[in-house]
Amino acid sequence: MFKPFEKISRQSFFVMVLLQVVLTLTIWQFSAGGLIPTPARIAAALGHLLTTRLLADNILVSLLLTGQAMFWSILITLGFAYLSVIPFFSSIAQFIVKCRYLTLTGLIFIFTLLTRDGSQLKLSLLVSGIVPFFTTSFLAVILNIPRQEFELCQTLGYSRWQSLYEVIIVGKADQVFEILRQNFAISWMMITMVEGLSMSEGGIGTLLIKYNKYNDLANVIALQMVIFGIGLCFDYLLGTLRRWLFPYTR
């Protein structure tokens, strides 16, 4: 268990993880004090949160916004990424990639002027935040396509448009799903930030800010655990969906 590259059984792995979690919680329970809540207090807060409609309603609002943001981000990313093999659009795609280094904080006012309401503002901020990361990941996939995939198309007498369709659109559909899975984490992380900008519609981010304002750390950490859990569930769901839709994928 302590040797490099040692292989352990699945059962041993789960027992090890369980022990590590129990050990961490025990140390936390006995070392916490003052403002930092103990695991028992967090568990009580989580139990209470789960029984209220407040949490379910706010989670639904956040999930809907994330879903919308993911949908538009994929649409925009795929459009520019597929077109990036055409020299005219290549520069635009490269510019989007570089936009990763733009911070959204300074642009919020401009986005406020450009959008109609709080809902649109949150959506546009999320999409603007996600698209550069999506595009970066997908362009890396396109750049790493082995030359032989295009050469096989050539030997089959395909036109350039047919090659684009076969190798990039059809051939990399599973990769799009993987990128979606990886980048879901970014949008889920950003949701709490953008929901703080327009709190009237609620959302898990709004709830988090409210608890934070009153220094209710037990509820803050309980909420963080809910966010973490939902993120893990979606990661698992998207991974399973990918394997089901694209059985050839590794």
């Binding site: 050539q154 030997t155 089959l156 395909y158 076969e166 190798v167 694209f246 059985p247 050839y248």
Partner: protein
């Protein structure tokens, strides 16, 4: 000796040169492949390009396939064009009765069937889907693509794996899928890069037999095998071109052409047992 004649030119490489920067890879490569006619038989051509490792075989392979443009020189191939009426090449077995005319033009990507060394296939397509993609490129198979796939799959013992993905296949199965894919595309020329590398002795003979079958499937079917496995390649060829270097000159060129038909070494099942075959192998080795 078997009666035969060599008639119209099917492929002609003229003064091919290829350089990378100041490094000359190929210099004045010239060779011609002619249609071999055997009375009462449908006989294709099997030509081997033999050379040492690093001599430029793969570069020549890429130039021949049209995937890479030569620095200078050209490759002309004779390709069949359907005319609708009786043509000059009616002995073709592909479409009996249809008018077929042969025209020469410079080689373009897609003109030749290419079987890469690692038998590359689209990983996201099942064998059936990959073969269907190729068959759809062949106008002669319009509306009969699935029947053609079924026919080839049965002939090449692949019927049971049509719904599998390339990564689920063995090396031998992948190779056969690659060959069928290019055959379904309908090109007269089939370029094979090192088709015998990495195969065990039993499979080696099966693959060699398979290539012979392919060459016999059509009068114009021309197999160009790029290999350094001299023994197996020569045993199924009718002509050998040796790619080598000439003293004091940069780049590789065709240094020797050996007509195996003239030596009585072509189209014989047990040719390896003959002394003339061993002598020819020795001769080739000394040329390398």
């Amino acid at each position: 000796m078997t009666a035969y004649t060599k008639e119209e030119v099917l492929l002609q490489a003229r003064d091919l040169c290829l350089s990378y920067g100041d490094t000359c890879i190929l210099r004045n490569v010239n060779f011609t492949i002619r249609d071999i006619i055997r009375p009462g038989l449908q006989q294709g051509q099997v030509v081997s390009l033999i050379g040492r490792s690093g001599i430029g075989k793969t570069q020549l392979f890429r130039v021949l396939s049209g995937l890479q443009k030569p620095g200078s020189g050209s490759i002309g191939i004779r390709q069949r064009v359907e005319t609708g009426g009786p043509g000059v090449a009616e002995r073709s077995a592909v479409q009996p009765g249809a008018g077929v005319l042969c025209q020469e033009h410079p080689v373009r990507p897609g003109d030749m069937g290419v079987v890469f060394q690692n038998y590359y296939q689209f990983g996201w397509r099942t064998v059936q889907q990959s073969l269907l993609l190729a068959a759809r490129q062949n106008k002669a198979l319009a509306c009969t693509e699935k029947e053609a796939i079924g026919h080839y799959a049965a002939r090449f013992d692949l019927s049971g794996i049509l719904h599998q993905y390339p990564q689920q296949l063995s090396g031998g199965q992948q190779q056969r899928v690659s060959i069928i894919q290019q055959l379904l595309k309908g090109s007269d020329f089939l370029l094979l890069d090192e088709p015998f590398s990495g195969l065990d002795v039993c499979v080696l003979d099966k693959v060699a037999e398979l290539l012979v079958q392919v060459s016999l499937s059509d009068e114009f079917k021309t197999l160009i095998i790029v290999s350094h496995d001299i023994d197996t390649t020569v045993s199924i060829s009718d002509t050998v071109f040796i790619l080598g270097k000439e003293a004091g000159k940069p780049g590789s060129t065709i240094t020797r052409e050996i007509d195996l038909i003239g030596r009585g070494l072509a189209w014989q099942k047990d040719v390896r047992k003959e002394k003339a075959f061993s002598d020819t192998i020795e001769e080739i080795k000394t040329c390398l």
